[in-house]
Symmetry: C2
Subunit: 218 residues, 2 copies
């Protein structure tokens, strides 16, 4: 069965929203896609006819089993390409999202199989997100928000989420990246900032804004 680039994008976005919210509304999806609600409704009807989503007018919706499988394939392609861009072409993690967004729609299954093998079947992409294997299985690693981690416990950064801003500049300045070992010494309730300690560096203060986007393994 053939899916257009648009359909793939809708499915993928439904998948991501569903992962966080459990269920998806027309408006939430429109927001995520930068489209208008009316356009979304139109597409929802198409996706339903293709049995990719469970949808009743005016109600929230979710992916069917089939929809989920397709979503995972797209996510897999996206994250494998991100991995390629960072580890083979030398891009840095915050530059690759938009490019992978285009590459994820290249359709050859054989291509993705070979790419995966070529990259050594990585389990996590450069942002720390898990890459579905060819059966759609995700390697689960608990991602704890740095904001919630116990005090004075050494943890390892395993994911960084960029929210469109320039957070990576700041992280580069602090020299925080995936794999960094650090502990939280203090939490300042006043502004949610944290004092953190990394190996061989003096304690530093990071804002709650940044900390919110840093995830780690305890």
């Amino acid at each position: 069965m053939y899916f257009s680039e648009s359909e793939e994008n809708y499915i993928k976005e439904i998948y991501h929203i569903q992962a966080v919210q459990g269920t998806v509304s027309t408006n939430a999806l429109a927001g995520a896609l930068g489209a208008r609600a009316a356009s979304v409704t139109e597409m929802l009807k198409k996706l339903q006819k293709k049995k990719l989503i469970n949808y009743k007018p005016y109600k929230n919706f979710s992916l069917t089993e089939l929809g989920n499988r397709i979503a995972l394939e797209v996510v897999r392609k996206h994250r494998l390409w991100e991995y390629f861009l960072v580890h083979k072409l030398g891009f840095s993690w915050h530059e690759v999202h938009d490019i992978a967004e285009e590459m994820e729609h290249v359709s050859s299954r054989e291509l993705i199989q070979r790419l995966d093998h070529y990259l050594g079947s990585p389990a996590f992409d450069p942002h720390g997100d898990p890459i579905p294997d060819k059966n759609g299985k995700l390697k689960a690693v608990k991602q704890n928000r740095l904001t919630d981690v116990p005090l004075r416990k050494w943890v390892i950064v395993n994911a960084l989420k960029e929210q469109g801003g320039n957070m990576h500049q700041l992280l580069k300045h602090y020299d925080i990246h995936i794999g960094t070992r650090l502990k939280v010494n203090k939490r300042f309730d006043f502004d949610s900032s944290l004092e953190i300690k990394m190996d061989k560096l003096p304690p530093a203060i990071i804002s709650g804004e940044v900390a919110k986007n840093i995830y780690c393994t305890i």
Copy 2:
């Protein structure tokens, strides 16, 4: 300036036809693209407005300087991806065209620059066609048809054109690939077949059909 995938395909195809015929007709382009003449006419007007082609109704047309530059960029992307698919992912040369056809439309310039560097700035793709450098320059290697090569002169295969058939099976059987050293011993006018000789192998006969698609350096 932005070009749609369709526009890029038209420009690229005009480039290829122009390379062979010198000039391009509506019908020839329609044939190459698998579209109808009326659709082509419509697009020609768009391309003219964007100053990519020189076009007068009912006349043959050709790329402008700008059009040529864009065409070379697309060709460059296509051939770099083909090189990647063969030399990094292990595809064989006859499998990569369609995949590269999709990948050539990924838009990031930075991506192509890095890909080129990663591949070692190759000058020829797996079919033996030259890869334009980032300024659009092509490394010219005379491609002589095996059918026209002088008798008993050792030559090196430098290009293979697949015409949609299964020629590669045959070539594999003869063990002919890019880089193969061989000489033509005899030409049989009756059916245009050739007797060829390769190192460490007994003489073999290949049909004119195949020979037509083998190119070499003298």
